[in-house]
């Protein structure tokens, strides 16, 4: 039955070996390994979380970008429409302005023409009256060489005035 009686030497060495092994591994072995495994697991968890967050962010960023693009397109269309409207407006305004200006110029021209016409008329009248007076003077000088004729004429004239 030697199998069931523990041998002193083996017990002694086993005790020593176990204590030494335990001392070494408890100091430099297991705590380091377990800490490292834990830390790595934490890091992996964090990495997964980070990746998920990044993905969500990317998705939302994509949606944002789409929204911005749509907004920009709407704005662009609006701007184009505004520009077209403004263009026609400006043209219209310019036309109106031009027409007004033209009217003014024409009015001024009319006035000046009228004025010159009046001046010319006046001048002409003056000339005509001058000529007629001259003619009349000449004629009168010829005719009124005698007194009778002169009186006749004065009478005639007076008649005329009276008639009027």
């Amino acid at each position: 039955m030697e199998l069931f009686t523990p041998d002193f030497g083996l017990v002694f060495w086993m005790f020593l070996a176990f204590i030494i092994l335990f001392a070494i591994l408890a100091k430099w072995g297991w705590p380091v390994i377990l800490k490292n495994i834990d830390e790595r697991a934490d890091k992996i968890d964090k990495g997964v979380e980070y990746a998920q967050e990044a993905r969500a962010q990317l998705d939302s960023a994509r949606a944002d970008a789409q929204k911005y693009i749509e907004e920009a397109q709407i704005k662009q269309a609006e701007m184009l429409r505004d520009a077209a409207k403004m263009k026609s407006q400006i043209i219209e305004e310019a036309k109106n302005e031009a027409a007004k200006e033209a009217q003014k110029v024409m009015d001024a021209a009319k006035v000046s023409i009228e004025q010159s016409r009046k001046e010319a008329e006046l001048q002409f009248r003056n000339e005509v009256s001058k000529f007629s007076l001259e003619i009349a003077e000449k004629m009168v000088r010829n005719q009124l060489s005698n007194d009778k004729a002169q009186t006749e004429l004065v009478n005639k004239m007076l008649d005329e005035i009276e008639k009027n």
């Binding site: 199998l3 523990p6 083996l10 092994l21 591994l25």
Partner: protein, 424 residues
């Protein structure tokens, strides 16, 4: 492919047919039979040297360290315990070498000045080194008379060597035997595994190790997360080192025992001394860390008064339980591992037992027994892991039952134990 397989099969069968002849040449003695019990116990037990394959006489010599009767320590090589002698077989005339024990003498001069040690055979301390003491002729005669009277050559206090009786002294023996060396090898391997991981982390930081180291890391995580942390929760860190050391030490020792040649082959965890020390360690850890609550549960448990007051029945059971728990650990590991070794050796011995019935029977039994022992060895690999796992698991549970704070946790542990019982 087919032809190749045929050739291999034929070669194996031829070898199998040759096996009985080898068996006859080496295993059996003159009577043709073999001493199964002796071979079995030799393989299961310890030895001063380490056997090598294919040699019956040569052993790897190991240091023998003994304390003589007068308190002096002596160290010598185990090779000095035996001498090689050439034996001529009377039937065939062949010469073969056998080993015989011889006296190791340390120091010169008279009996009084020198120390003599011998590997005992006919003594109470069979196969152990004993010191021979100065024996007077009267004492020798007395021993012979006792032997004759009891019809047994083993006499208490005497060792018979070379036909003479000597007074013996069993010295304190801390020799580096086969088992001790295997133990040291296992220690080195466990340290190497843990330190290689530590060194890897220091070099590569948070990169996960692959292949071999990845396997060890997986095992560490399996034990730590699956056993220690899930049972001890926030106290896991405190006991992790002890429990992990237990697991890996047992696991490596178990596996080493399954390897047939040199670094392995020692039946370590199948030796009661090893499991006893492990169990004592668990006992110490459990009871040193026992809380007030744990001791209260032992000396004043929550049971009806009549069970604990006039006659302390419960106290008796509980105190008994303190010792049976680690004892169960000790015996379970020992019996499982020894049983595994025993089965494999017995299956192998079947070949030599059947050898006497002729070559054909021996060949057939060789095929069967090799297949069976291969199967058993494969199962033993599984058992190696399971036993290390169970030892750690139960140690963890014992610790969790002693290091408790309140009732609530105790109930939780009871649940855990119930679950385990259901699984078992």
């Amino acid at each position: 492919m087919n032809r190749q397989r045929n050739i291999i099969l034929t070669a194996i069968l031829a070898l199998v047919m040759l096996l009985p002849n080898f068996a006859k040449a080496s295993g059996s003695n003159e009577e043709g039979g073999i001493n199964v019990k002796e071979i079995l116990f030799h393989h299961l037990g310890d030895g001063y040297g380490w056997e090598v394959p294919f040699s019956h006489t040569y052993r790897i010599p190991l240091p023998v360290i003994v304390r003589a009767e007068d308190g002096s320590w002596h160290c010598f090589s185990s090779a000095r315990l035996t001498k090689h002698v050439e034996v001529v077989d009377p039937a065939t005339g062949k010469v073969h070498v056998e080993t015989e024990p011889q006296i190791v003498t340390i120091g010169k001069g008279d009996w009084a000045d020198r120390y003599q040690f011998v590997l005992a055979h006919a003594s109470k301390h069979k196969d152990k080194v004993v010191q021979l003491l100065l024996t007077s002729p009267a004492e020798e005669k007395q021993a012979e008379e006792i032997a004759k009277a009891q019809n047994d050559e083993i006499v208490d206090g005497f060792v018979k060597f070379d036909g003479k009786y000597y007074k013996e002294y069993k010295p304190y023996d801390i020799s580096i035997t086969k088992n001790v060396l295997a133990l040291l090898i296992a220690t080195v391997i466990v340290t190497a595994i843990a330190m290689s991981l530590v060194r890897y982390y220091r070099r590569k930081g948070d990169k996960a190790p692959r292949k071999g180291m990845g396997f060890w890391e997986m095992l560490i995580e399996f034990i730590y997360d699956g056993v220690i942390k899930s049972t001890l929760h926030d106290k896991a860190k405190k006991y992790a080192s002890f429990l992990m050391t237990c697991f890996f030490f047992i696991f490596i020792m178990n596996l080493l025992g399954l390897i047939v040649i040199f670094p392995g082959g020692a039946n370590l965890t199948g030796n009661i001394a090893i499991t006893l020390v492990l169990a004592v360690m668990v006992f110490v850890v459990v009871n040193v860390n026992g809380t007030k609550h744990y001791w209260k549960e032992i000396f004043w448990p929550d049971v009806p008064l009549f069970l604990k007051f006039p006659i302390p029945i419960m106290q008796f059971i509980e105190i008994f339980g303190i010792f049976t728990k680690p004892a169960a650990l000790c015996v379970r590991l020992f019996a499982n591992m020894m049983g595994g070794h025993m089965i494999v050796i017995t299956l192998t011995l079947i070949i030599f037992i059947f050898a006497m019935f002729g070559a054909a029977v021996a060949g057939a039994s060789a095929v069967v027994s090799v297949l069976f022992s291969l199967f058993m060895l494969a199962i033993d690999v599984l058992v190696s892991f399971i036993q290390a796992y169970v030892f750690t698991l139960l140690a963890t549970i014992f610790i969790s039952m002693s290091d408790v704070d309140d009732h609530h946790e105790l109930h939780k542990e009871a649940e855990v134990i119930d679950n385990i019982k259901e699984i078992g």
